[in-house]
């Protein structure tokens, strides 16, 4: 198990190095000068030179790469051109919205998917199964921004349970923050939960057809016991894979929902930085997202090994 974890960790480090090199190359080596690109066509030569010095573009490339990576390791992501403030600080502020939102949505999606998937699988072919699967079909089909607007209409405008948007900040109290994130999290979680429920159901049904389920029944376990004790854990591998993918998506892919609810999240930051040609911010956020995806994959790999002893052995 330790060897497996070490091996996965090694691959994590290698992935990070490769990813940082690729991002650096794309932004720095791609044709065109970042400074002139950022300033637009009508930039004055002296402004351009000043920006080039500020961005550190007068240093050789290899050295620049190590400066960039070294800075990131120490938490220094550079200064945003458009906002004139440290990128690290900007990302950190947004992270405090995006990360809790992603976790909240993922928690909700799992909370919807597990019971729904298990219920449908255990009652395969019955009315209950059909109803649950029909509902997940709908959940997959409905666009989340539309669902978000319906939520706002019902819960914020009519019932006035939640505010229609904005984020008060965690310093104003934990529950206030949670409340502000609830509607966005539900809107994000619905389609994800529906997909996950379908994966859970089909994975469980595959397992319930396996020979060892028949063996378990011959030992005297009831249908319900075989499902919980024998099928569920075996069915977790594809489910974990989907959860890992969904987390990465939720962290960065919430742009539309952030827009609908006026949330100052990472998605909006990327969107605004791209519009403002703020390459340093884009570069840093992309690196951060890549980092989080790789770390999540690492966590999923470890979870596989916890679930399946065969993976622990195969180092």
């Amino acid at each position: 198990m330790v060897r497996y974890a070490l091996k996965r960790a090694l691959s994590l480090v290698i992935s990070l190095i490769v990813a940082s090199a690729v991002i650096f190359l794309v932004v720095e080596v791609a044709p065109g000068d970042p400074a002139s690109f950022m300033l637009g066509l009508n930039a004055q030569p002296d402004t351009l030179a000043a920006l080039r010095a500020e961005l550190g573009l007068d240093v050789p490339r290899l050295q620049r790469y190590f400066l960039w990576v070294g800075g990131m390791v120490q938490g220094d992501f550079g200064i945003s051109y458009a906002y004139r403030s440290p990128v690290a600080q900007m990302i950190a502020e947004r992270m405090w919205v995006s990360l809790p939102l992603a976790l909240y949505a993922l928690g909700l999606s799992t909370a919807i998917a597990f019971p729904a998937g298990i219920y449908a699988a255990s009652r395969r072919g019955t009315l209950g199964d059909t109803v649950v699967m029909g509902a997940t079909q709908l959940g997959v089909a409905v666009p989340n921004f539309w669902f978000a607007m319906i939520c706002v209409l019902i819960f914020a405008i009519n019932l006035r349970w939640f505010s229609a948007g904005g984020f008060p900040g965690w310093e104003k109290g934990f529950w206030g923050g949670v409340k502000a994130l609830t509607l966005p999290a539900i809107a994000l979680a619905l389609p994800q939960g529906a997909i996950l429920a379908r994966v859970m159901r089909s994975s469980l049904l595959d397992m319930l057809g396996e020979d060892f389920i028949r063996t378990a029944r011959a030992k005297g376990l009831s249908r319900r016991q075989t499902l919980w004790r024998h099928a569920l854990r075996n069915a977790m591998i594809p489910v974990l894979t989907i959860i890992g993918l969904q987390f990465s998506f939720l962290l960065a892919g919430a742009i539309i929902i952030e827009q609908v609810f006026f949330l100052p999240g990472l998605g909006r930051l990327v969107f605004q930085s791209i519009s403002a040609r703020d390459l340093i911010v884009v570069e840093s956020v992309v690196m951060l997202l890549v980092f989080s995806v790789i770390v999540v994959n690492f966590a999923v790999d470890l979870a596989y090994a916890v679930v399946d002893p065969r993976l622990r052995a195969r180092t």
Binding site: L6, F212, R214, T215, A216, A218, K219, G220, N234, P309
Partner: protein
């Protein structure tokens, strides 16, 4: 008192009758074999006894376990009986265990759900039971996972799970069919010992009459869901009344009439010191990779019109060697030459002289193609494939040769039974008139009567086409009946080779002797005595 009494059992699934009036008894300490070909209803009888009939099944009649009718017992009470009063062992040990639970947990689970309260006590009994089935704790601790065990060892775990509560009735459904002969002999000994020790009744389901003859006190012969004959084993084997039983025994001991051997020194396939090795995963993070030699310096020659057998147990390297001969595996050493060319760059026209028939008649055809197209597949090897009229004539002829009709060319593969599919596979191999066909366990998945027909077909075409073949099998009796020369393979090496008759009557290598000793043999003489 009888332990299990099956009285007039009828089972229908979605209206289609599966079992019709099945009746037999099992007494404590008695081994009763249910035998018959696939589809005869053996397994369904076992599942009915366990109360595990599939969805849509309707059962009638009586199934009395110690006087209690299984068919009228509610599901919760059945759960209490399964694993407790009756246990079951299945055919496929590789998939019968849950891969994510340790063997100790899986054996202990049987005990825990049937009332052994303390976890420690359950594990203690599990340890004893695993030791009883030949997996002592010092070599096979409870923490082992199924993937760390061989097929035979896994079957032992399944048996330990089934007998943990010392059930009165044990049902074993083809418990050794998926195992090698030497492992089969051990598992059969184990089952017999358990029956004697615990006084259990054993319902043993097997299609293998040789196993039946070795194990059973009584035989129940089934066909199409009904019992055609039953009685004491000796009695049945000596005085078979029913024609089906006779046909079954005749098919089991069937030896096709081989044409006389023609010995010509005209090698068409030469394997010289072939080595195929695989790199194993590293043991430590940066440690060296160990190399496993699946085929380790094998040399063999097949001459024109020669019928050669290759026997060995699973994992001995037979399949790897087969793939190498077919040019599907690169070699790390040695050479394989067919028709005077290296196998790796054999010209397509010559390649057509070497064909293969695989084991699985279900998985080796593309289900979306018609038989005509499936059979005509090897034509792409020819530089100038024949025109369509010629092609149709060839297809019709190939189908006729294997005992099918030309009209079958327009059907899809799912319309055929396993035996017919294997005939189609042979037709596909024959269509280019090859000089050599490799049969890789080609009759292992077939029922005895179908197997007998396919073996006859093989003997016939080898004579009529002047065909040489390499017949690879784990089944010694089959290899013995269709080959002139035999090679015995173990751990990637050929340990013995010679004339088939000489090797079987006077084996030299200890491994060959062990193989022959372990293979159950039908008392073939009985039939002649009584006839």
């Amino acid at each position: 008192m009888t332990l299990l009494s099956v009285q007039g059992l009828d089972v229908a699934i979605n209206g289609a009758p599966i079992l019709r009036g099945v009746s037999f008894d099992i007494a404590p300490g008695q081994i009763v074999a249910l035998t018959g070909e696939s589809g005869s209803g053996k397994s369904m009888t076992a599942l009915a006894t366990m109360g595990l009939l599939p969805k849509g099944a309707v059962a009638a009649g009586k199934l009395l376990l110690e006087g209690r009718d299984i068919l009228t017992t509610p599901e919760t009470a059945l759960c209490a009986l399964r694993g407790n009063a009756m246990g079951m062992v299945f055919q496929e040990p590789m998939t019968a265990l849950n891969p994510v639970h340790s063997i100790g947990d899986q054996v202990a689970e049987t005990l825990r759900i049937h009332g052994t309260d303390s976890r420690a006590e359950a594990r203690r009994i599990a340890r004893d039971m695993l030791a009883r089935v030949g997996l002592p704790d010092d070599r096979f601790p409870l923490s082992r996972f199924p993937h760390e065990l061989s097929g035979g060892q896994r079957q032992r775990v399944v048996i330990a799970m089934a007998i943990a509560r010392r059930p009165r009735l044990l049902i074993a459904d083809e418990p050794t069919t998926a195992l090698d002969v030497t492992t089969q002999a051990q598992i059969l000994d184990l089952l017999r010992g358990l029956v004697a020790d615990f006084g259990m009744g054993l319902m043993m389901i097997t299609h293998d009459l040789a196993v039946v003859a070795k194990m059973a006190d009584r035989i129940v012969v089934m066909k199409d869901g009904a019992v055609v004959e039953q009685g004491e084993t000796r009695q049945i084997l000596h005085h078979m009344r029913h024609p089906y039983t006779r046909a079954l025994l005749a098919a089991s001991t069937h030896r096709p009439k081989l044409s006389p051997r023609i010995t010509k020194d005209d090698p068409i396939l030469t394997v010289t010191d072939a080595v195929r090795s695989y790199a194993e995963p590293r043991k430590t993070l940066f440690g060296p990779r160990t190399v496993r030699r699946a085929v380790d310096g094998v040399s063999l020659t097949i001459h024109n019109r020669e019928r050669v057998g290759l026997v060995g147990e699973s994992g001995c390297g037979k399949s790897t060697l087969t793939r190498a001969i077919l040019g599907l595996e690169p070699l790390q050493g040695g050479t394989i030459t067919a028709f005077g060319h290296d196998i790796a760059n054999l010209p397509p026209a010559l390649r057509s002289g070497l064909q293969v028939v695989f084991q699985d008649p279900y998985g080796s055809f593309n289900p979306r193609h018609k038989v005509a197209r499936l059979i005509a597949e090897p034509y792409h090897l020819l530089p100038r494939p024949p025109d369509s009229a010629r092609r149709e004539a060839d297809i019709a002829q190939a189908l006729t040769e294997v005992g099918l009709t030309p009209g079958d060319a327009d059907k899809y593969i799912h319309e055929f039974s396993g035996g017919q599919r294997q005939r189609i596979a042979i037709a596909r191999a024959l269509i280019l008139r090859p000089d050599l066909i490799v049969f890789d366990e080609a009759v292992s998945a077939l029922d005895v009567s179908v197997r007998a027909q396919v073996l006859d077909l093989l003997a016939r075409i080898s004579a009529s086409h002047g065909l040489a073949y390499l017949f690879i099998s784990h089944d010694l009796s089959v290899v013995r009946s269709v080959t002139d020369r035999v090679l015995v393979m173990k751990s990637g090496k050929i340990v013995e080779q010679g004339e088939t008759r000489a090797v079987f009557s006077n084996p030299q290598h200890p491994y060959t002797r062990a193989l022959i000793a372990a293979a159950p043999v039908l008392p073939a003489l009985h039939q002649e005595e009584t006839a």
